[in-house]
């Protein structure tokens, strides 16, 4: 239970960006030994509040008091030195450094000013990673690992920096259920040690599982502060969204469909023995028109790789692909796109967004690339399309000229989704499409997938959330250790447990 | 100008052919190319084996080349220094190795003159003076002020510094001569034209143009013509070097006088090399034969210009 005295208190925080008021007079309290959830829709101002607190941004107004003292951090370094350690929303580590170095940089053990013990750093890193059940080569550059692993490394680093306050901004967005549990174990341990934790997530179950209290933001304004056990989910959602709209109920209703008739048709895409050494072992996969195929598996099991091979993002070494009845060699994404395949990549900053371009330009990019530079999308049509999808996916700010770099994480994801939807693909590959997306928008996207499939679009759906996979797909491919081990039809009998068992045992049933 | 290599060839037996290592500055101008050609041709004619290297205007490359020659144990080293200082260390090495060094084209600034046997080339200060001499004579007895604009060579280049100094000192005595503008034209036609165009815009009455080399003068002539003036008449032009194009311009009446700076050092150099190898004493300072050409002499000299 929280002490009466908050370790951190923020009052009247106001932060403006040109054209946007990200925070307007927000108050916030954090007590030692509690897990505090910061809640809000995409763009509500959660990350901005965290960045203001830790000195990344300077607020226009407001004060922060840490452990009884007025503080004003001019840089994250200062915040860190004062005992506030943070994992920011997008993984913010150095891709070129090794895992061990990322964990220890800036606080390497030194002797006479010289870093003297690399083996020790590696050993400690392995030890720390073992706490989240990760056994990886810590000397390899961070960039060679999947986003999820990078996320865990960032967490491990933040947690290891002895701190009074640990801030985790959507740390779980790319973790699977097991990894989340590992993280929670670590968080609980910190909590017992009296550390104050600030936690951001769009997964309500996680919030209810781990947090003690929560602060809700909406449109940059404080809605209020509640004890988690005193607020029901429906109330929470309606406070976040600001209407009494019961999104949750709608979510539950989301249809779980099975179209047995699909299997009898010719598949839209049939991959046979597609594989690449070191990435995934050769696999067979067929996707029918109007079918949603889910991929399940643990971290690094090779789901992303399957998607990338089909899309030609990586070049397959073995196997063939038949699309629409004609055999194809998919060597580059361009050929795949030419066959009406679209791919929403997992890591939106490095593989998806062009940060310096506007929302409009980012949305139009794929369509434009397909048409070639000679045939620009007519401005009228382009603006119509862009406006339509900004509206449909409720991208905020709804300004097509805003730089995508300045959008909140969830809204960036929506921009990418819009980019592919306007190309009206026949097969849409979604790698973690709901990462970092708020409950409302998530339901929106799930509904979208269902309706697209009903209109005949095929979807390959990858998500760390088994529930989501289960809810949407007609059939689920299960991966383990970079091998497609099973293909399970999604009938009444398929449950998350059965999928987990399949993953664990490594064989289909 | 000199003979086509009817040097006595007896020193050049098959085995003990004289080896000359020549470290050239670079190939930065037509003048330099003529200089290189002259040296190559006369070495061939004199039966001297020439080791050649091009330093691309970099002193360190020249030092490397000289050091290389020392290592290859050539008989004589000759070079045109990029700059006149900084040669002591490497020349000492040459001296220690017993290889005589001949400087061409410009001198080096060293207290120890034993580091080289001789220097053959022009005196840039004298060239500037000669340019001034012509000017002084041309305006002899006139009292109205003479507005001069100067196109300098590249900053830091020895010819630019000395030609400016030689000229400036020589006209200093006469208060009528006024250098109203002086800018670098970087020894090129394009810059010469650009700078002259600007001069013409900001100075309505220019009487004389003094250019540190022909290329800048040739560029400036075009600027003058475009400004609607007559080069050589409305604005008198003095230039240095004596390339063929400049002689042509003199014939056309566009340049008034050219002070020659002769790049064809080859024959003289080879003669010296042979003397040095034989152990004959040579003069410490050998000036190349150079003239001052005016318009009336230009037509006669034009056909014989080689570069």
């Amino acid at each position: 239970m929280p002490d009466p005295q908050p370790i951190l208190q923020m009052k009247g925080i106001t932060k403006e960006f040109p054209g946007v008021t990200a925070l307007a007079g927000v108050d916030f309290r954090l007590f030692p030994g509690e897990v505090h959830a910061l809640m809000g829709e995409n763009g509500a101002g959660k990350s901005t509040l965290i960045k203001v607190l830790t000195g990344v941004y300077q607020a226009e107004a407001g004060v922060a008091v840490l452990a009884g003292e007025r503080v004003h951090f001019s840089s994250p370094l200062k915040a860190q030195q004062a005992g506030v350690s943070t994992v920011y929303q997008e993984v913010n580590l150095c891709p070129n450094l090794s895992v061990a170095e990322n964990i220890f940089i800036g606080r390497e053990p030194r002797f006479l000013g010289l870093i003297n013990n690399y083996p020790e750093m590696r050993r400690r890193s392995r030890e720390l990673l073992a706490r989240v059940d990760l056994d990886i080569d810590v000397t390899a550059p961070l960039a060679s690992y999947s986003l999820a692993i990078q996320q865990l490394v960032a967490i491990v680093r933040a947690v290891d920096i002895a701190a009074k306050v640990v801030i985790l901004d959507e740390p779980t967005s790319s973790l699977d259920a097991g990894e989340v549990q590992q993280l929670f174990r670590v968080m609980r341990r910190l909590k017992e040690d009296g550390v104050a934790l600030l936690f951001v997530s769009h997964f309500l179950e996680q919030i209810y599982e781990i947090s003690d209290r929560m602060t809700i933001l909406r449109n940059g304004r404080l809605v209020g502060e509640w004890r988690t056990d005193e607020l029901s989910r429906i109330e929470l959602v309606s406070k976040m969204i600001g209407t009494e709209l019961s999104v949750l109920e709608q979510l539950e209703e989301a249809p779980r469909r099975q179209l047995a008739s699909l299997a009898r048709q010719e598949p839209f895409l049939q991959a046979t023995q597609l594989g690449k050494t070191g990435l995934v072992q050769p696999f067979d996969l067929s996707i029918h028109r109007g079918e949603v195929v889910g991929l399940a598996g643990l971290l690094g099991s090779g789901r992303t790789e399957v998607a990338r091979l089909i899309f030609g993002a990586d070049r397959a070494e073995t196997g063939t692909i038949v699309i629409d009845g004609t055999p194809q060699t998919v060597k580059t994404p361009r050929t795949a796109i030419g066959r009406n395949i679209a791919f929403l990549p997992e890591n939106r900053t490095t593989e998806g967004l062009v940060g310096d371009l506007s929302v409009r330009e980012n949305i139009i990019l794929a369509m434009q690339a397909a048409r070639g530079w000679m045939r620009p999308v007519p401005p009228r049509r382009r603006d119509e399309l862009v406006a339509k999808y900004i509206e449909a996916l409720s991208i905020r700010p709804a300004d097509p000229d805003a730089l995508v770099r300045n959008l909140s994480g969830g809204n960036q994801q929506k921009v990418l989704l819009a980019r592919w939807l306007i190309t009206q693909p026949k097969l849409l590959i979604l790698d973690e499409p709901t990462r970092g997306i708020d409950v409302g928008a998530k339901a929106e996207i799930q509904r979208l997938v269902v309706s697209l499939a009903e209109d005949g679009m095929s979807v390959l759906f990858i998500s760390a959330e088994l529930e989501e996979v289960l809810r949407l797909s007609h059939k689920v491919g299960v991966l383990r250790d970079r091998r497609l081990v099973a293909e399970l039809a999604n009938d009444e009998s398929l449950t998350a447990d059965r999928i987990m068992q399949t993953i664990a045992s490594g064989e289909g049933s | 100008a000199c003979g086509d290599g009817t040097q006595d060839n007896d020193a050049g037996g098959a085995d003990d052919k004289i080896v000359l290592g020549f470290a050239q500055v670079g190939a930065e101008s037509g003048w330099r190319t003529a200089n290189t050609k002259s040296i190559q041709d006369s070495a061939r004619a004199a039966g001297i084996e020439l080791q050649f290297s091009d330093a691309q205007q970099k002193q360190e490359n020249q030092i490397k080349a000289i050091r290389g020659y020392i290592q290859q144990k050539v008989d004589v080293i000759a070079f045109s220094p990029v700059v006149n200082t900084g040669w002591d260390p490497v020349l000492k090495e040459a001296k220690a190795a017993g290889i005589p060094v001949i400087l061409t084209d410009r001198a080096v600034d060293s207290t120890d003159t034993s580091l080289y046997v001789t220097f053959i080339g022009s005196d840039f200060i004298v060239e500037g003076q000669r340019a001034a001499d012509w000017l002084i004579k041309e305006y002899e007895g006139k009292t109205e002020p003479v507005n001069i604009v100067e196109l300098q060579g590249s900053p830091g280049a020895a010819p630019a510094i000395d030609r400016k100094k030689g000229f400036g000192d020589a006209i200093a005595a006469n208060p009528n001569f006024k250098i109203i503008a002086s800018q670098t034209g970087e020894f090129t036609r394009a810059k010469g034209k650009e700078v002259m165009t600007a001069f013409l815009q900001s100075n309505p009455d220019i009487d004389v143009l003094y250019a540190h080399n022909d290329d800048m003068a040739l560029g400036a002539i075009q600027a003058i013509e475009e400004a609607g003036k007559k080069p050589g008449t409305d604005i008198k032009i003095i230039s240095i070097d004596g390339v063929k194009d400049a002689f042509q311009a003199m014939v056309d009446g566009k340049i008034n006088v050219v002070v020659e700076c002769n790049p064809l050092l080859g024959p003289q150099l080879m003669e010296l090399v042979q003397k040095v190898v034989k152990g004959e004493t040579v003069e410490k300072r050998i000036l190349t034969e150079e003239g001052v050409f005016t318009q009336d002499q230009a037509a006669a000299a034009l056909p014989s210009r080689q570069y």
């Binding site: 990344v56 941004y57 300077q58 226009e60 993002a313 580059t332 994404p333 361009r334 796109i337 990549p345 490095t350 998806g352 062009v354 940060g355 310096d356 371009l357 506007s358 409009r360 990019l365 434009q368 690339a369 048409r371 530079w373 620009p376 999308v377 401005p379 000229d401 770099r405 300045n406 | 190939a27 930065e28 101008s29 037509g30 190319t33 290189t36 300098q152 900053p155 503008a181 800018q183 670098t184 970087e186 020894f187 090129t188 036609r189 394009a190 810059k191 700078v195 165009t197 600007a198 815009q201 900001s202 290329d215 040739l218 560029g219 075009q222 475009e226 400004a227 609607g228 390339v243 194009d245």
Partner: protein
């Protein structure tokens, strides 16, 4: 108005021009002479035309996140090829011969540009090194073509390119503006600009949306070669001679400077052709100012350094907010690209 991305470069240009006025009150005077316009401002445009062209190509290259150091050498090669061809003709004034020479020169430079493009896009060599090769070797090639001599020609049609006039205006300026206009038009009317910016902004993302990045990069270097070639023709035509060693010397630095002054980030992505033209004019005006004010050659560089520093500081939003405090004590997240995040309305055809 100060929010417009070209505000500061234009301001600097204006200030420089006004600076000249103090020394030379009739600086802006333009008179008609021999049927064409004559005056300092015209001279700035005329002598700045080659730089504008080179900077135009450079802008596109930089937009893709590259850089082209070889433009100076390509300038010299273009002049060499054209002048050599013309000098060998019986009648140097024959228009057909000149056209052929121009076509040859542009063809050659296009090839050299494409060579850079292949090195960068297909072999995957870092642009600075890939183009350094041609930068070093190119002048050697130019000198080889001309046997180390300056070729002087006497061809009225050729001279027109760099020193001729059309409708009272310098032909070089018209040619440059035409090229710039065509390029800008293509960039805005077609989707080329968007795709280039995308490649420069995030190459991997561009690949994944199916942009043919390699071909685009190849194209851009080829265009840069072509622009440099055209500039080379102007420079050599202006003085009716080709100088393998000095033509276009260090023009790559001026061009890059022009691009950056014009507000295009060296890291790639967003570019502004209008900005580049302003940038090139700033640089040319700077030279003219040096002549007009009579800055001695020894201090010219210091003068240039000071002006460049001032321009770039003014351009920097960080500097303005820190020094003038216009937006209060605000610190936007350091965008990794360092490009100003102003509204860029002019980029998109509205």
């Amino acid at each position: 108005m100060t929010r417009h991305r070209l505000f500061w470069p234009v301001l600097v240009l204006v200030v420089l021009l006004l600076g000249n006025l103090i020394e030379k009150p009739d600086f802006f005077a333009i008179r008609i002479q021999d049927g064409h316009l004559y005056g300092s401002v015209i001279d700035i445009l005329r002598f700045g035309a080659p730089l504008m062209l080179v900077a135009l190509g450079m802008t596109l290259v930089i937009a893709t996140g590259g850089i082209d150091l070889s433009v100076g050498s390509v300038v010299s090669i273009a002049g060499a090829v054209a002048c050599l061809h013309i000098s060998r003709q019986a009648d140097q004034n024959a228009v057909s011969g000149v056209l052929l020479a121009v076509a040859m020169a542009l063809g050659v430079t296009l090839l050299f540009g494409a060579f850079n493009g292949v090195m960068v896009s297909w072999i995957g060599i870092q642009p600075i090194i890939a183009t350094l090769i041609l930068m070093v070797a190119g002048r050697g090639i130019a000198q080889l073509i001309m046997d180390g001599q300056i070729i002087t020609i006497n061809s009225a049609p050729y001279k027109w390119i760099g020193a001729g006039w059309l409708l009272t205006l310098p032909a070089a300026v018209l040619i440059a503006l035409t090229m710039i206009g065509i390029t800008a038009l293509i960039m805005r009317r077609s989707a080329l600009g968007l795709l280039l910016e995308s490649v420069g902004g995030n190459a991997e993302a561009s690949r994944l949306v199916g942009i043919r990045a390699r071909s685009l990069v190849l194209l851009v270097y080829a265009v840069s070669g072509l622009c440099a070639g055209l500039a080379g023709l102007m420079i050599s035509s202006n003085v009716s001679s080709a100088d393998g060693n000095n033509a276009g010397l260090l023009i790559e630095l001026d061009a890059i400077l022009a691009v950056v002054i014009g507000g295009t980030a060296l890291t790639g992505g967003r570019f502004s052709i209008g900005g580049t033209v302003i940038g090139a004019l700033v640089i040319q005006t700077l030279s003219t100012t040096v002549y007009t004010l009579g800055v001695p050659p020894e201090t010219t560089l210091i003068f240039k350094a000071v002006v460049v520093t001032i321009v770039c500081l003014l351009q920097s939003p960080a500097f303005r907010s820190k020094v003038f405090g216009r937006w209060g004590p605000r610190r936007t997240p350091p965008p990794s690209s360092g490009s100003p995040s102003e509204p860029t309305s002019e980029k998109v055809p509205a």
